[in-house]
Amino acid sequence: MSEANGRTVMGPAPAGASHGRPRGLWGWLVTTNHKDIGTLYLVLSLVMLFAGGLLALLIRAELFQPGLQLMQPELYNSMVTMHGLTMIFLVIMPALVGLANWQIPLMIGAPDMALPRINNWSFWLLPFAALLLWGGLLLPRGGPDAGWTFYAPLSSTFGPPSMDFMIFAIHLMGVSSVMGAINIVATIVNLRAPGMRLIAMPLFVWTWLITAFLLLLAMPVLAGVATMVLTDRHFGTSFFNAAGGGDPVLFQHVFWFFGHPEVYIMILPAFGVVSEIIPAFSRKPLFGRESMILAVVAIAFLSAIVWAHHMFTVGMPVSGQLFFMYATVVIAIPTAIKVFNWIATMWQGSLSFETPMLWAIGFVCLFTVGGLSGVMLANVPADYQYQDTYFVVAHLHYVLVTGSLFAIVAAIYFWLPKWTGHRYDERLGKLHFWLSAVSVNLAFFPMHFAGLAGMPRRVPDYALQLADFNLVSSIGAFVFGLAQLVFLWVVVQTIRGGEPAGSRPWDGARGLEWTLPSPPPYHSFATPPSLEVVMAEGPTDHGTAAQT
């Protein structure tokens, strides 16, 4: 693959691309520029974060005390479903793809993404998907209400009309992800600057390469299972209906064959982000690059064979339970490598604690909490108790909020000066971090105890012994939500103006993106960077890059 690059001759600014995007809204609609599309993804993600977060706050308000205060159970169920689907498909994934769009061409020295029009298409499918998904709330019997996992037959035979709109929204988001993944693979494999070997690619690029493969593996299967639900609903098939020879559990197998790789799709690029930030603020190269890459590959491989750990209570044969338990806990080993290598990167470094670094360190600590509760969940006998309780809700928020979301926020603080050319307000950034770090634990740590004390997931009302945990969680959630308004403020202010960032705002940061001015020119690397630059910004350890 790497020999491809030597042969490529890249001239001056490409012909059709010498002019920028047309002005106004139309320009954003038709743009083929990776930075524009990256911005679109990130803006959509931020908007949906507040939308999905608003639902979360409504959920927390309802759970503030026992009894129903705000909504009927059916509305509650669709709030939970919409919250989960929105956060996963319209917040975390678009944010990560947005980061990929902005950063991958900058980091590998490419003029743009490999397939710019497909890139535009991938993005514009998402707002329509959001419309189909959220529009369901206005239909008779309300929005989709079977949880983000839409288990059959609750979603098939018993689902409201909005379920069909949700299914088609999932199809659109699936097409978007598959196209995005193809684009990313093609870009990374084919558009690297001459002289940048695969092994020398930045970790963020590496994690996205692996993630793209996982997307190609997982998303079509999700489309398939959603289609089966659709045909069971309307065309008389009986995939999930025992009366016709089917099995509701079949849904879960196929869903989780997608679903589990999906959760790693949401964490691997986050690992990549953290692997960029920690070396920059430790002023020390990443510890053990090769094993970091290998660990990601191992995690991705394992993620395809552990899906049934979400189904330990469906009554699987014991041999199956054992297999899925072993495979699951093995993932802790490559993840251990990652965590300890990050710490080793900081070890004997020269650490400074600008906002991105704070979020990255927060990530390392709190993701570990989530990962450890994951290992607890993987213990089958214990999971007989944990499954479908708030213990799972605690786990998933530690890995997703203090994992994926924290890394995304870190990435935005890290690269925003590059994108906008302005420094953000460091004091507000730190305020944002400390408010978030404290409140997020207040919101989600008590959920472990609520789960152990017997609180099931997806209930609008609960027994009295759970009142205290829920009270604390709700308060924490509200503070966390407010803290995100600080974030919004900081981002908007930085886009509008601020101290010039210079091309390399972080003295410890290495990588091709920092060789460009801030903000970078519209066509990032119209001429590929020279070999010397590629070498100087690449990893210096192990001599891997220097051999070319």
């Binding site: 288990y151 609750l154 004997q348 650490l351 604690f353 290992v375 479908d388 152990l452 099931p456």
Partner: protein, 373 residues
């Protein structure tokens, strides 16, 4: 957590329960105790790992600050170290996997059963049947919880004993004997979960999951449905009343006699309005009230009210057909003809047509129901 069987003090149940609920219960079956041991093992290991990680992070953050003049070292890898932190976690995991495997095999071993109960989840109540004893009944959330939970209710949950965790009829099981549950479902997936028995098992429509255990000590054990099953998912509690084998036998006998007597007595009695209403009310409250509510008001947006309903006020034949064959439009309104006999259905329909000010004065007869089948 297991309380003695008897009237529980209504005062401050929140306080009494609250202090005890920070962890899983140890429980009253060998399964639950093994599960508890596994839970505590993974908890302590996790805590330990967390401490190691936090301590290391804290150390670097304090020790290697640039503001304290730290200069970066140049190293960027160390094979030996990496091998260590690959092997040590692997050993820890293997160390946990060995006892876990043993426990898992033990829990899932199934032997012979002295008492078998068919547990059927049904939106949103549980049905318990003892096939060998000829007993069967529905178990519903108690009305006071239902009332207090409702939006805008003027009854506070704090005043309800065992809020959301109490039922009209508990599942009665003997202690010390092998119990086997056959868990099934009428509609969507539910999950039968009583923490003190040690596990949950999903109730999957069309399939049966087995669950074997022996309860060590008498008491009342509470749990609830643990799989999202629609609107009433929060309102499907489970209460197990474990009694000594002798007491169980006595109970079963009495229950058999009671159910038989009910059947023969009512079969012998002439089909009058009063008879139909009494029977109908009992059936309605056991089965229909979970959705349409005890007062026939339904839940706006989810379940139609029967009070003043067009179907109930309309031709009786249509009403009977809907109940017997279910709604063609909405699967939640399933075909109850399969579950109930003619007299039950006739009583039920009569009750619906005359309760809550529906005063149609109609008396549905078992013959009408039979004709509609």
């Amino acid at each position: 957590m297991s309380e003695s069987d008897g009237p529980s003090p209504a005062a401050a149940p929140a306080l009494a329960d609250g202090l005890l609920h920070w962890n899983l219960p140890r429980g009253v079956t060998s399964t639950s105790q093994q599960v508890y041991a596994m839970h505590m093992m993974v908890t302590w290991v996790s805590a330990l790992v967390a401490i190691v990680v936090f301590a290391a992070v804290l150390w670097t953050v304090v020790r290697y600050r640039r503001s304290r003049g730290a200069v970066p070292a140049g190293f960027s890898g160390h094979l030996g170290l990496e091998v260590i932190w690959t092997l040590v976690p692997a050993l820890v995991l293997i160390g946990m996997a060995i006892p876990t495997t043993r426990v898992l095999l033990d829990i899932n071993r199934s032997g012979s059963a002295a008492v078998t109960v068919r547990v059927t989840g049904s939106q949103w109540k549980w049905h318990y049947a003892y096939p060998d004893l000829g007993i069967g009944f529905y178990s519903n959330l108690k009305d006071d919880s239902r009332e207090a939970s409702r939006k805008g209710s003027n009854r506070s949950p704090q005043t309800v004993p065992h809020y959301l965790s109490d039922v009209d009829r508990p599942l009665v099981l003997p202690t010390g004997l092998d119990v086997r549950l056959q868990i099934a479902s009428d509609d969507v997936i539910h999950s039968w979960w009583v923490p003190e028995l040690g596990f949950k098992r999903d109730a999957i429509p069309g399939f049966i999951n087995l669950m074997d255990f022996v309860i060590d000590s008498p008491g009342i054990y509470r749990g609830q449905c643990a799989e999202l099953c629609g609107v009433g998912h929060a309102y499907m509690p489970i209460v197990v009343q474990a009694v000594a084998p002798d007491a169980f036998k006595t109970w079963a006998l009495a229950e058999q006699q009671r159910q038989a007597a009910l059947r023969s007595e009512s079969a012998a009695r002439p089909w009058t309005m009063a008879e139909a209403l009494t029977q109908g009310q009992a059936t309605y409250e056991a089965i229909c009230a979970a959705c349409h509510q005890k007062d026939g008001q339904g839940l706006p947006g989810a379940f139609p009210a029967l009070k003043g309903s067009k179907v109930v006020a309309g031709p009786i034949a249509e009403h009977i057909r809907l109940v017997v064959h279910g709604s063609p439009k909405n699967p939640v309104m399933r075909a109850f003809g399969k579950e109930m006999d003619d007299r039950q259905l006739a009583g039920l329909i009569t009750y619906e047509r005359n309760a809550w000010g529906n005063n149609t004065g109609d008396l549905a007869t078992p013959e009408q129901v039979e004709a509609a089948r």
